[in-house]
């Protein structure tokens, strides 16, 4: 500012001669132009920074959705499977135990061979068998368990293709090859990749094309992704196990952190005398909110697992660790909510003879509840996305079964994402992104609920 205002100052030593005034005016104009340009530039930097940040957000979402949306479709092949009673249930008891342990692979293989009558010889037959996922076995088993009368019948069923073929049809392996181009190609699959990178052999390619041309292959909604637990086979791996684990973990976290957090906040805000001890607690809570999450994992490992001997990989331990982690968030939010209730409410209640606790439980808490719930939901959303502390307490185990109680070994959604992201197969990359989409979906729902709650019940006093 000073360099631009100085020349126009009438007391400046340059004197009031008309020529120098003109030049001073010019100078001022020039400096004004410069300053306005600087102003424009500065604004542009700000807009640029915001656009850059938003561009990164968009890139992240586009990448995740772009690589994950295909996981919601699974290519299946229609098989006419004959379930011979002598193979599946020789005794004819139709006992669910027997049906569950029976081998349906033979029936599936026969159905596959019948699709390719010209495939003879061991290697050709192996190629034919490899088209179908090992999970086909489970699909048929579940059908039979649902309806035991199917044994002895010939059923037409869609079973998942093995992951390589699924990925090829989705165009994830070779951009030039998709379901459509395979169907339309007159001779062979139109590869653009050299043979070494195609994942499947020449023969398998021919079989695949034949299936596609005959219309036996169909892409359908991938229900297995939502109903299965983890698996080594990408086409069988699902998020249900991790989702249930996350649910149990959050349940434990909520059941502990909400009452403890609210009680602590009420005490600190309404009862605690202002002294050194409460000061220490307050500073402590603020610091705890900024301690890296992995340190809570170390605490859980040393105290809950090693000292108390709790089970590894159990949602209940995960819930305990996440409780300690989310408590500061909930306490801070609850205190803010209590602070925003005007003192007149308390005074009125005390004035008509309520005790201090009656005042708080009957009048202050109900008014502060929306704010407390908002803080709790935000804390729960944090807990849902937390990975590092759960790695420390062993929730990274490979768990196929769906956990039935909070004591069973299990994993949680973010850890499942971490585990899958380590797997090199393309089928897992796709599933990782899809699991991320589900996780983000949950988080958006929770945050939207928090925002809604705040909008709906926010009061101005």
């Amino acid at each position: 500012m000073t360099e631009s205002t100085a020349p126009t100052d009438p007391r400046s030593p340059s004197g009031p001669s008309s020529g120098s005034t003109a030049s001073a005016k010019e100078k001022m104009q020039a400096s004004l132009a410069r300053r306005y340009a600087a102003e424009k530039r500065f604004q542009a930097y700000g807009i640029g920074a915001i656009i850059l940040a938003l561009a990164m957000l968009v890139t992240l979402f586009v990448t995740i959705i772009g690589s994950g949306y295909t996981a919601f479709v699974q290519y299946t092949v229609r098989l006419d499977v004959t379930l011979y009673p002598q193979d599946i249930d020789p005794q004819g008891t139709r006992d669910p135990e027997v049906l569950a342990r029976a081998d349906y692979q033979g029936a599936i293989n026969d159905a596959m061979y019948s699709l390719f009558p010209d495939a003879s010889g061991r290697s050709a037959r192996r190629d034919v068998r490899a088209l179908v996922s090992p999970g086909a076995n489970f699909v048929i088993r579940d059908m039979v368990l649902d309806d035991p009368t199917l044994v002895g019948q010939r059923i037409s069923v869609y079973v998942p293709l093995a992951t390589e073929f699924d990925q090829i049809l989705k165009g994830n392996i070779d951009p030039a090859v998709t379901m459509r181009t395979i169907r339309e190609a007159s001779t062979g699959i139109p590869w653009s990749l050299p043979p070494g990178e195609r994942l499947i052999s020449e023969n398998q390619g021919r079989y695949l094309q034949q299936l596609v041309r005959q219309g036996e292959v169909e892409g359908s909604f991938n229900r297995w992704f939502f109903t299965n637990g983890d698996s080594r086979q990408p086409e069988l791996a699902g998020i249900w196990g991790a989702a249930v684990g996350s649910f149990f973990t959050l349940l434990v976290t909520l059941a502990l952190s909400f009452p403890i957090g609210v009680a602590a906040a009420v005490y600190l805000e309404e009862f605690a005398p202002k002294n050194r001890w409460t000061d220490v607690i307050e500073v402590n809570i603020n610091n705890l909110a900024a301690v890296p999450s992995i340190v809570f994992g170390l605490l859980g490992l040393a105290v809950f697992l090693q000292f108390f001997g709790m089970p590894r990989s159990a949602p209940v331990v995960g819930g305990l660790v996440l409780t300690l982690m989310t408590l500061p968030t909930i306490i801070i939010a609850s205190r803010a909510a209590l602070k925003s209730v005007p003192p007149s409410i308390r005074e009125a209640a005390l004035g008509v003879g309520a005790s201090k606790l009656q005042t708080i439980f009957h009048h202050v808490l109900p008014l502060a509840m929306p704010g407390m719930l908002t803080g709790t939901i935000i804390g729960m959303a944090q807990a849902l996305g937390e990975t590092a502390p759960l790695l420390m307490i062993g929730m990274v185990a490979f768990v196929v079964d769906i956990p039935a109680t909070p004591m069973d070994p299990s994993t949680v959604l973010p850890v499942q994402i971490f585990l899958w992201s380590d797997s090199p197969e393309r089928g897992f990359t796709e599933r990782t992104s899809a699991a991320i989409m589900c996780l983000l979906g949950f988080l958006i729902l929770m945050n939207a609920a928090a925002v809604l709650l705040r909008k709906r019940f926010e009061r101005k006093w």
Binding site: R35, Y45, L52, I260, A290, L299, T387, P414, N447
Partner: protein, 488 residues
């Protein structure tokens, strides 16, 4: 799992005792409710508390103690009967002989002479066999011990149920007899509730205490094996070699300097991304943006803070790192596929909203009169921002940036997924470096021996991490608080 049923039973008894207490209060008032000091509900709560609290305390003590007592009883049983030649023979035939490094002609096993890890193995074996999850190839005698252990636990469980129910009933009975119109039930219930609230507010203190003690305890055991100076100033980090007994404590394998350097490098890159973008966007939002734009853009930016870090890690490993590698290749640079640059940049994106929202708060807290004074002197908006607002807000902004740095140092998943594992002392952002948090995760995920320096090293690293972030937080909170005092 069975414990849950016991808890459910206690809660059921509590409900019944509530109803009984309430009913007795009404009965004792003899149709004159005003004669009661407290409302009937408070009498009910009073009896319910006396029913539930002692029983639950007993349960909380019993449940962790019981397996320990059962195990020590089982080990006593083992010690008392192992001298029997038939038992000894069956142990010698099993895989346990190998685990306990049994002499071929030993006639007995002295438990007190076992090494700590062998002792633990024996206990695990008993536990697994009792739960029926042990692998094959175990001794018949061990099955006997396991059965004894399981029998002890079953008896103990029945005893516990009986004791809990008895304590609950006795508590409720005593309290029920105390009920009288003049009894101050409300005051007593309120005392109990206040005590509960005080207990809850100390959980935060206990957590901090737990963190400090567990980290210190394990770290001290680590420093008993590896000197502190070597850990803090050593330049060579290779914990994997320490598995072999002859290499434990071999020179330089626990020097953490490369980890500190890697952590600082990645945090520095992250701050280089986050500070300019976060600060400039905060200034624009606070000083320039229309309130409608602000209402849309601010929550959008805050989405960045709500995305789980594992998602950023995947994004870094899947998209950003290959992108940098390809760009580097095309201009002839050798960029590692786990470069510090990719991890740091993605971490920077994550931190943008921290910097921007904290700066936004302090910028809007600068009194309006300072802006108006500056405009009155003819300054443009950007000049006001640069020469008046930023200097006034600087302490707060620095505090916010320090908090963001502590966030970056403690961040785990992004670096675990996108940064390297090998320790590498370099300042080149295109190479792979490792960080403190990555090493903690690598050391502790998977099978671990609790006493090896390799596992303990993770706790020493955790202690360093905790102290570093704590210092940063305290400084930052102090700076922010001091600044607030100036303008409020």
């Amino acid at each position: 799992m069975e414990t849950l049923y016991v808890i459910a039973a206690i809660l059921g008894l509590t409900l019944i005792s509530f109803a009984m207490g309430r009913q007795r209060a009404v009965a004792r008032s003899e149709g004159q409710p005003r004669a009661l000091h407290s409302l009937p509900n408070y009498h009910g709560h009073f009896v319910a508390l006396w029913c539930a609290v002692p029983a639950l305390i007993l349960l909380v003590i019993w449940v962790p103690l019981e397996p320990m007592l059962a195990m020590s009883a089982a080990l006593d049983y083992f010690q008392a009967h192992i001298a029997d030649p038939a038992h000894m023979e069956s142990v010698r035939q099993s895989k346990l002989a190998l685990l306990l490094s049994l002499e071929p002609n030993a006639t007995t096993i002295d438990l007190s002479a076992l090494r700590a890890d062998q002792y633990n193995l024996l206990q695990t074996e008993i536990r697994n066999m009792a739960a029926g999850t042990a692998s094959t190839g175990h001794a018949a005698f061990m099955q006997e011990v396991a059965d004894y252990y399981q029998g002890y636990r079953d008896t103990s469980f029945l005893l516990m149920v009986a004791a809990c129910v008895a304590v609950a009933g006795a508590g409720a009975g005593v309290a029920w007899r105390w009920i009288a119109p003049e009894m101050r039930a409300r005051n007593r219930v309120e005392q109990a509730v206040t005590a509960f609230m005080i207990l809850c507010s100390t959980v935060a203190i206990l957590t901090t205490l737990g963190i400090v003690l567990s980290l210190l305890f394990e770290a001290i055991r680590f420093f008993a094996q590896i000197p502190l100076t070597e850990f803090l100033f050593g330049l060579h980090w290779s914990p994997q070699t320490a598995i072999r007994a002859d290499q434990v404590g071999s020179t330089g394998s626990f020097g953490a300097v490369p980890l500190f350097a890697g952590t600082l490098l990645i945090s520095f890159i992250a701050m280089c991304v986050a500070v300019p973008i976060g600060l400039l966007s905060a200034i624009y939002m606070a000083e320039y943006a229309h309130s409608k734009v602000r209402a849309v853009v601010k929550p959008l930016l805050e989405i960045l803070a709500g995305i789980p870090t594992v998602v950023y890690g995947f994004f870094a490993a899947l998209t950003v790192a290959p992108f940098f590698r390809d760009v580097g290749e095309s201009i002839g640079l050798d960029v590692s596929s786990e470069s510090a640059l990719a991890a740091g940049m993605v971490m920077g994106i994550m931190i943008i909203p921290f910097v921007s929202s904290l700066s936004d708060d302090v910028i809007t807290a600068v009194p309006q009169s300072m802006r108006e004074g500056s405009y009155g002197l003819g300054a443009t908006k950007s000049e006001t921002v640069r020469r008046v607002i930023l200097p006034a807000a600087l302490p707060g902004i620095v505090g916010g940036i320090l908090l963001a740095v502590s966030r970056a140092i403690g961040e785990t998943m992004i670096v675990v997924m996108a940064a390297g594992l090998g320790s590498n002392l370099t300042a080149n952002p295109l190479e792979a470096v490792t960080t403190v948090t990555v090493q903690i995760v690598t050391l502790l995920v998977g099978d671990q021996e609790f006493d090896s320096p390799k596992t303990l090293a993770a706790f020493a690293l955790g202690l360093v991490l905790f102290i570093m972030t704590l210092c940063l937080n305290i400084i930052a909170l102090h700076v922010v608080r001091k600044y607030r005092e100036q303008y409020d």
